[in-house]
């Protein structure tokens, strides 16, 4: 599939969440990403699309995976990439988020990729900065590029989302990945189920229009895709879940529980995995069912597609010209 570099893909100059995206925008991003998968598999991976543009990765939370994925995406598209991470920034010296925004603005970036532990931080920056903002995860709110890469991974394996049953399992309460995926998968026609202990489900989860299961064995019946979520270590010691061994016994994906899903069901995980907590290594490493490595590959392609799509909206001289 080829799209002319001038065709607009996104209606807005930011990617802050899936919730605001239309089916057409999502489909166009996935189509564009497919072309980057091909590019990334070629020997010559470099394009000059973002030549002269500046991309800043601003990470207030450590994330090797997402940050390097964006960095690689930017570099392959020819942009100048700057990584700023929380521990070296002046935030620890008392600077507010908006002070940081003003400082960054003065550096005249074209695209800012931001990861922040507070929900809504990306949106706040988008309002204050002159550049395009990509939300790389804000608190428990959204992580749009993760959901897009998950959708791309699924779409390349299963032709249609229509009627596909996807179970999102684990710490839904704190998960931005879950929220973005719920929006995206439902919008594309999949049936979404949430499987979690009640302590890790938001109080009104059914308002997402999804099915809720607290018994994983029942919830996995008839499922096409099992999407596991990471359980943060600090949440396994009694506040939300009594112990890791209990969590693994009742909510960890092992062969036995996976056998209850539809034959040929595929397993996904946004990484990094807690082996023996939410997923058994036997399942995670089984190339017949696990899409986990593929998700990482799709991640770079999706981020290239997102940067490409946002670049289409940038004025030739940059949006930050006065």
């Amino acid at each position: 599939m080829s799209l002319s570099p001038d065709t607009a893909i996104l209606r807005t100059s930011h990617l802050l969440g899936i919730e605001g995206l239309s089916v057409a925008e999502i489909a166009a991003l996935l189509d564009l990403a497919d072309t980057y998968v091909a590019l990334n598999r070629a020997a010559e991976k470099k394009s000059a699309l973002l030549k002269g543009r500046t991309l800043i990765n601003l990470f207030f939370e450590a994330s090797t995976r997402t940050q390097s994925s964006f960095e690689l995406a930017g570099k392959r598209l020819g942009a100048d990439v700057l990584n700023m991470s929380v521990r070296t920034s002046s935030v620890t010296k008392g600077e507010t988020l908006l002070d940081t925004a003003a400082t960054l603005n003065a550096m005249r970036p074209d695209i800012l990729v931001v990861r922040h532990p507070d929900s809504g931080a990306a949106e706040l920056l988008a309002r204050k900065l002159d550049c395009s903002v990509v939300n790389a995860g804000d608190g428990s709110h959204e992580h749009p590029t993760q959901a897009l890469l998950d959708a791309l991974t699924i779409r390349r394996r299963r032709r249609s989302f229509e009627g596909l049953v996807v179970a999102i399992c684990g710490d839904v309460l704190h998960s931005r990945v879950a929220r973005s995926n719920i929006h995206l998968l439902s919008r594309l026609g999949a049936r979404v189920r949430l499987i979690a202990p009640p302590t890790l489900l938001p109080a009104n989860a059914q308002r997402f229009g999804v099915e809720i299961f607290t018994d994983m064995r029942k919830g996995l019946a008839g499922v096409d895709i099992v999407m596991m979520l990471r359980l943060q270590l600090e949440r396994m010691t009694g506040a939300f879940v009594p112990s890791t061994r209990e969590y693994f016994r009742f909510y960890g994906l092992d062969r036995d529980k996976l056998s209850l899903a539809k034959p040929g069901a595929l397993v996904m995980h946004p990484g990094p995995m807690n082996r023996g907590v939410e997923i058994d290594s036997v399942v995670a490493d089984d190339i017949e069912v696990s899409l986990i490595s593929e998700q990482v590959e799709m991640g770079v392609a999706i981020r290239m597609a997102v940067l490409d799509a946002l670049a289409r909206g940038l004025a030739p001289a940059g949006r930050n010209a006065p």
Partner: protein, 436 residues
Amino acid sequence: MSAQRIAFRNARLIDPASKLDARGGLLVENGRIADLGPRLFNDSDPKDPEVIDCKGLILAPGLIDMRVFTGEPGSEHRETLESASLAAAAGGVTTIVVMPNTDPVIDEPSLVDFIHRRAAATARVRVAPMAALTRRLAGETMTEIGLLREAGAVAFTDGDRTIANARVLRRALSYASGFGALVVGHAEDPDLCAGASMTEGEYAMRLGIAAAPAAAEPIIVERDIRLLELTGARYHFGQISCRASLDAIAAAKQRGLPVTCAVSAHHLALNELDVGSYLTFMKVKPPLRSEADRAAMVEGVSNGLIDVIVSSHDPQAADTKRQPFAQAAFGAVGLETLLAVALSVHHDGRADLGHVLKALTATPARILDLPGGRLAKGAPADLVLFDPDAPFAVDPARLHSRARNTPFEGRKFQGLVRMTFVGGACVYDRAKEKQT
């Protein structure tokens, strides 16, 4: 348990679950009830090796006591599972539900397993352990409810401790609801009750004993009802003692919430004045209440708002009771007086016999999802044969419990247990007791 057949004839069969109350017979085979009915063994003598002529006495399901503290593991000098089971058998109790308040606390699957193995090796009656709801009963982090259930815990409770932190309780209730697990709560606001030994009121004031307001109980009852409404967990108040608590529970039941409650025998029979001149055997948790509250408890049993009657059996060694009132330990033994005290509600004309027995058999079985508590074909042959009218005075020297801290010394009741059977095996026969 017993492979042999036992034929009971000429009994008054009472099965509260099916509202059966009729003369008839009952046949036990391989530890289970094989047959029963008004005509069984009426005309022909059963040819079984063992025939028990009940002489018109009541044959009912064995009692299920939902609130029993023992000292095993950790303080076996107070009570072991074995000694508690002897007391239970003598009281017509065939299942004791033991609290996790031991040393160590029953908060690990391996410790639930320990209770089951010790019970199998030493106890005369069935032992159903409740596990702790929070680790070390500290009220901070929840226990492994799923694994503990698999190990055989019948419910989750911090026993006689109230979880002060509402957020901890909310999460524990929420987590338990995912497994359909029963949570059993204790309602005494820990801050209001700190250092108190009696209920605040005129009598405590005259005695000069530090006291806590009775409101310390409904404050927690109302909070817990709000939390269970948020979470949908199955919730049981291990014991309540005030009218205000009962009012809150009545309203919750009317809203359709899955809540039940129990009252202890001593809160049915005693009030704060029974403390007399600093009688430490009257120091229980929660403390004895006003006469109005005691009467409300009797009324609650009679109108069915109170689901279950428990002994709240809490054995204490003499050294911890032979103390100034404020320093004495809380607790009273009760397994051997449970039936008689409960029957007093019937003898006082406040409820029929079947209704009282239901609160001791079928209802606890239903709440805990236990197979006993009823006379039905196929049910375990856990039975009590008793004379509802025979009078007796409580003699601490005749108690089977390792501890003697009964608040009913010398008190006269009607209702004597003659025989108790667990799984078809006789575990108590009053005729074979040493007479003193």
